[in-house]
C-alpha cells in the first residue's frame, strides 16, 4: 500500500482569459518509509504539487490516494480529518504557534486527535527527546534557534506517526551545518516511523539524503 499515490494530476491557474498549467498529468507514488525529493526551478509547480499531495489544494482532475484511501470527492471537512490523522507538515519558515511552548506546539497535533493526556505527554516528550529538544520543551519558539524551531516542527509533523510528511524547503532558512542535521533528522524519523516523505528542495544535501529524486519542470515530471 502506498502512502501517497497521485495519478494524472492536472492543475491550472487562470491567467487573464487563458489558463496556465501548473501541473500536467503528474503521476507520483511514495511508499512508506521512502523519502522523495522534489526538485525543479522556481515556478515549476513544486509548491502546487506539495499542496495537492498535502490535501490543502484541489487538482482540476486526476486521482489521489492517501494511505491507500482514495480522497477524490471528499468534502473539505473529510480532507481536514485526513490531514489531521495521516499528514504531517514541515514548512520553510517553521510556522510554529508563537504563544505555545515547543511542547505545546508538538502536543497540538495530538490534541486534535483526542489522544488522552497521559499518552500525549509520553509521546510528546519522547519525540522531543528524539529531536534533541527535551530540555527546551518548555521554551517558546522565540527563545529557540532556527534549527531548534525546525526540529520542533519536525517533531510536530511526526508525533502522530502520519502516513505522509510534506516538507516545503525545510532547510531553506537554515545555515548549512544546521541544515545537514535537520535533513538527517527528518530522514531518520520518517524511516523510523514508517512515514513517506515528500520534500520540495533546492538543497543538494537534501536530495542526497533522499531515496529518490523527482524533477518537476513546467508542471511535468521529467
Amino acid at each position: 500500500m502506498s502512502s501517497l499515490k497521485m495519478k494524472s494530476i492536472r492543475k491550472t491557474y487562470p491567467s487573464g482569459s487563458s489558463a496556465v498549467y501548473a501541473l500536467k498529468d503528474v503521476d507520483l507514488e511514495v511508499r512508506p518509509g521512502e523519502m522523495v525529493a522534489l526538485t525543479g526551478p522556481s515556478g515549476s509547480g513544486k509548491s502546487t504539487l506539495l499542496n495537492v499531495c498535502g490535501l490543502v489544494d484541489t487538482p482540476d482532475s486526476g486521482r489521489r490516494e492517501i494511505a491507500g484511501q482514495p480522497v477524490d470527492g471528499f468534502s473539505a471537512a473529510q480532507l481536514t480529518e485526513l490531514r489531521r490523522r495521516h499528514i504531517g507538515f514541515v514548512f520553510q519558515s517553521f510556522n510554529l504557534v508563537p504563544v505555545m511552548t515547543a511542547y505545546e506546539n508538538v502536543e497540538y497535533a495530538l490534541l486534535l486527535l483526542g489522544v488522552p493526556l497521559k499518552e500525549r505527554r509520553s509521546k510528546v516528550w519522547e519525540v522531543l527527546d528524539r529531536v534533541g529538544l527535551a530540555e527546551q520543551g518548555l521554551r517558546l519558539p522565540d527563545a529557540l534557534s532556527g534549527g531548534q524551531r525546525q526540529r520542533v516542527a519536525i517533531a510536530r509533523a511526526l508525533v502522530k506517526s502520519p502516513a505522509l510528511v510534506i516538507a516545503d524547503e525545510p532547510t531553506g532558512n537554515l545555515d548549512s551545518a544546521t541544515a545537514s542535521q535537520v535533513v538527517q533528522l527528518l530522514g531518520e524519523l520518517t524511516r523510523e516511523r514508517g512515514a513517506a516523505a515528500l520534500v520540495a528542495t533546492h538543497d543538494e544535501r537534501m536530495t542526497h539524503s533522499c531515496d529518490r529524486v523527482v524533477r518537476l519542470v513546467d508542471g511535468e515530471i521529467q
Binding site: 490543502v56 504557534v97 508563537p98 486534535l112
Partner: protein, 403 residues
C-alpha cells in the same frame, strides 16, 4: 480547558491592544450598569412615592375613577368604616385609610385662594406618607381637637400670610349644592417638593370634611400593604371580595411614574445601545487585527488538521476572554461607584416642576449585572465570530502565503 488557556495566551499576545479593548468594554459595561442602576433607583423611589401617596390598592364606588362629579361626593363610598374593617383583615395589609378629595376657597379674611383639599385620618395618613411630605413648621393635626385643624402647603401659607396657630376659613360646595364654610386653625405647614401642589394643598381631618360637605361618605379607601410586591395579588383579592366596588392599584393611578419610566427606559435604552455598539466596534477591531496578523498561523493550523470551526472557536474564546475580563472590571467599577455614591450624599438638582432635588444613588441589581454581563460576553463572542469566520474559511494555500 486547554483551548481556553491557548486563547488566554493569545489574548495577552498583544497586551496593549487587548487591554485597550478590555478597558473600553469595562467602561461600556460600567456605564450601562451605573445608568441602569440609577434608573432602577429612580423607579423604586417614584414607586414608593406613588404608593405612599395613593395607597397600594385604592377602592372607590362605581364611576368614581371614571369621570367628573356633578356635585361633590356624587360617586362617594358609603359604609367606609365596615369596608375598612373587612379590608384590614386581609393578609399583608398595614393600614386602610379613608380619604375625601374636595376643593374650594380658603380665606384669611383679607384675601381668598383656590385650594385642593384632602380629608384624611389624623396622624395615620402622615405616617404612611413618610419623607415625601416634609413639615417646615408645626406638626400633623391630631384627633379630638375642639376646632378643626389643617395642614397647608408652604406656598399657600405664604399666600395666606398664615403661620402655625393662624385662623383660616374653608369654603366649599356641599353635596346638596349649597355653600358651606368652616373655620380652621393651621396646625402644620408642609412641602411635597412640587410648587404647584404646595400652592394649593389643604389637609384636614376626614370627619371635618364630612361635616363641611354634609356627607357621611368618603371618596376612596386607600389600602397600604406591608410589601409593594403584593399589590396585584391583594387587588385581585379585594376585587373578588367586593365586586360592587372599583379597584385600582397605585400603578393605575401613577401617571407620572409611568411617564418617567417610559422616558428613562428610552433614554437609558439608547445609551445602552450606544455602549453596546462601542463595545462591538472595539472588540471587532481588536479581533479583526488579531485575525489579520495571524492569517498565516490560521493557515498552518488548518493545514495540520484544524477544522475552520475549531479555528473560529479559538478566536471566539479569545474574544470572550477579553469581553469577560472587561465585564468583570466594569462590574467592579459599577459596584465601587454604587458604594461610593451611597456615602457621598450627592444631590441631583430639582427636576422640572419640583422644588427639591433628590439623592444621586445607584441601585445594585443582580439581574441587571447578569443581563449586562451576558449581553457583553455575547457581543464579544459575535464580534470574534464575525472577525474570524471568513479567515478560517480562506483557502489554506492563500492563508499560508499571507505576509
Amino acid at each position: 480547558m486547554r483551548w481556553l488557556i491557548f486563547s488566554l495566551k493569545n489574548a495577552i499576545r498583544n497586551k496593549r491592544r487587548s487591554l485597550t479593548a478590555l478597558a473600553i468594554t469595562a467602561v461600556g459595561t460600567a456605564a450601562v450598569l451605573i445608568s441602569g442602576g440609577f434608573a432602577l433607583f429612580t423607579y423604586q423611589s417614584l414607586r414608593e412615592v406613588s404608593a405612599r401617596d395613593t395607597g397600594h390598592v385604592v377602592l372607590g364606588a362605581r364611576g368614581y375613577f371614571g369621570g367628573d362629579e356633578d356635585v361633590p361626593m356624587q360617586h362617594g363610598l358609603a359604609g367606609s368604616p365596615e369596608l375598612a374593617e373587612r379590608l384590614q383583615a386581609l393578609p399583608g395589609v398595614r393600614a386602610v385609610l379613608p380619604r375625601i378629595q374636595f376643593s374650594g376657597l380658603i380665606s384669611n379674611g383679607d384675601k381668598s385662594a383656590v385650594f385642593i383639599g384632602a380629608g384624611v385620618p389624623p396622624q395615620a395618613d402622615f405616617r404612611v406618607r413618610g419623607p415625601q411630605m416634609r413639615f417646615t413648621e408645626g406638626e400633623p393635626f391630631g384627633a379630638g381637637a375642639t376646632a378643626p385643624e389643617v395642614v397647608i402647603g408652604t406656598d399657600l401659607a405664604r399666600l395666606m400670610k398664615a403661620k402655625v396657630g393662624s385662623g383660616l376659613t374653608l369654603l366649599a360646595t356641599t353635596t346638596e349644592g349649597n355653600l358651606n364654610a368652616v373655620d380652621v386653625t393651621v396646625r402644620g405647614i408642609v412641602t411635597v417638593g412640587v410648587p404647584e401642589i404646595d400652592k394649593r394643598l389643604v389637609m384636614t381631618d376626614v370627619a371635618a370634611v364630612q361635616r363641611l360637605l354634609l356627607t357621611d361618605k368618603v371618596s376612596t379607601l386607600s389600602v397600604y400593604l406591608k410589601e409593594t410586591a403584593a399589590t396585584d395579588d391583594t387587588a385581585a383579592l379585594v376585587h373578588k371580595a367586593m365586586p360592587q366596588l372599583e379597584v385600582r392599584t397605585w400603578l393605575d393611578l401613577a401617571a407620572f411614574y409611568q411617564a418617567v419610566r417610559d422616558l428613562y427606559n428610552r433614554i437609558f435604552g439608547v445609551l445602552g445601545a450606544i455602549m453596546i455598539v462601542i463595545v462591538l466596534f472595539a472588540l471587532s477591531n481588536t479581533m479583526g487585527m488579531a485575525v489579520a496578523e495571524r492569517t498565516r498561523e490560521i493557515g498552518t493550523l488548518r493545514a495540520i488538521g484544524t477544522h475552520p470551526r475549531e479555528v473560529v472557536r479559538n478566536f471566539v474564546l479569545e474574544g470572550v476572554a477579553i469581553g469577560a475580563g472587561g465585564v468583570l472590571a466594569g462590574m467592579a467599577i459599577a459596584a465601587a461607584a454604587t458604594v461610593l455614591l451611597a456615602f457621598a450624599g450627592i444631590q441631583m438638582p430639582p427636576p422640572p416642576g419640583r422644588s427639591t432635588g433628590y439623592p444621586l444613588l445607584v441601585n445594585f441589581s443582580a439581574a441587571l449585572y447578569a443581563a449586562t454581563g451576558a449581553a457583553v460576553v455575547t457581543i464579544a463572542a459575535l464580534a470574534s465570530w464575525f472577525a474570524s469566520a471568513k479567515a478560517a474559511r480562506k483557502p489554506i494555500t492563500e492563508a499560508l502565503s499571507h505576509v
